[in-house]
Symmetry: C2
Subunit: 112 residues, 2 copies
DNA sequence: CGGAATCCCGCGAGATACTG
DNA sequence: CAGTATCTCGCGGGATTCCG
C-alpha cells in the first residue's frame, strides 16, 4: 500500500492504526492522544500525525491562542479506513491468545 | 497487536500481509512466493515466513528430497486473518489514488 | 501546549558467500 | 531449491533542548 519512495505505508506503520483507532471515538488534542497511546514518544506522535495529515486521513485544526490548542480529527477517508480495518482489529484481539500460545509451542519445540 | 518483547506485530510488518495475501490463493513454494513479492530479499522472505509459522499463521511442509521442496500454506487461523484483512486490503487499493492526490496537495502547499 | 531541531544509537534489512 | 551465516550500512526512533 503506497510504500514507494521511503514513505511508510499507513497500515505497515507501528502507530498509525492505533492513532486512527483512537480518533475513531471523536476529535482529540495532541496531549490527549499521547496519554492514550502508552509508550509513544512525543516525536513519534508528531511524525505519525503529520504523515496521516499528509495522506488525507486526519485533519489538523490549530487555535491560535496561548497556550496552543491543536485538535486532530478523522476525515471521511480516515473514517472509511477505520471501518475497513475494524474486522482486522477484532481479529487481532480475538486471536491474540492463540498467537501467544502458538509462539510458546513453537519456542518449546525441540528446535534441534 | 502482540507487539511486546521486540517481536513485530503481524499487521505492522512490511511483508507479512502480502505473504498471507499471496498464500490466500493456495499453497506456494518458497521461490514462487519470492517471485510474486517484487522487491523482497531472500533473507526477508525467510524471516517473514518463520515469523508467520511461529505465530501459527502458516504451516511449513518440507519434502526431504534433492533439490529441496518446501511448501507454505495458510492455517485456519491464517485464513481467518486474511478474511478479516480483506476489507482493509480493498480499502487500500480503492483509496490509493486519493492518498496519492492528498500527498501531492500537501506537498504543493505554500509550506510556510 | 504542541511542537521543531539536534544528537545519537541499535536494529532492520540488503548483499554476498556457503551448504544439505 | 531453500535456506543459514556474516558483514555492513542506513535510518527509525528515543532523549533532550529550545521555541511561539
Amino acid at each position: 500500500m503506497a510504500a514507494r519512495g521511503g514513505c511508510k505505508a499507513v497500515v505497515a506503520d507501528k502507530w498509525s492504526m492505533r492513532v486512527v483507532s483512537d480518533l475513531g471515538a471523536g476529535p482529540r488534542r495532541f496531549t490527549d492522544l499521547k496519554r492514550g497511546l502508552e509508550g509513544i514518544s512525543q516525536r513519534m506522535l508528531t511524525v505519525t500525525l503529520r504523515s496521516l495529515e499528509r495522506d488525507g486521513i486526519v485533519t489538523r485544526t490549530v487555535l491560535q491562542v496561548m497556550p496552543p490548542n491543536v485538535t486532530y480529527e478523522l476525515t471521511p477517508m480516515g473514517t472509511a479506513m477505520l471501518e475497513a480495518a475494524t474486522p482486522l482489529l477484532r481479529w487481532s484481539t480475538d486471536y491474540l491468545p492463540r498467537i501467544t500460545e502458538a509462539r510458546a509451542d513453537y519456542d518449546a519445540r525441540p528446535g534441534d
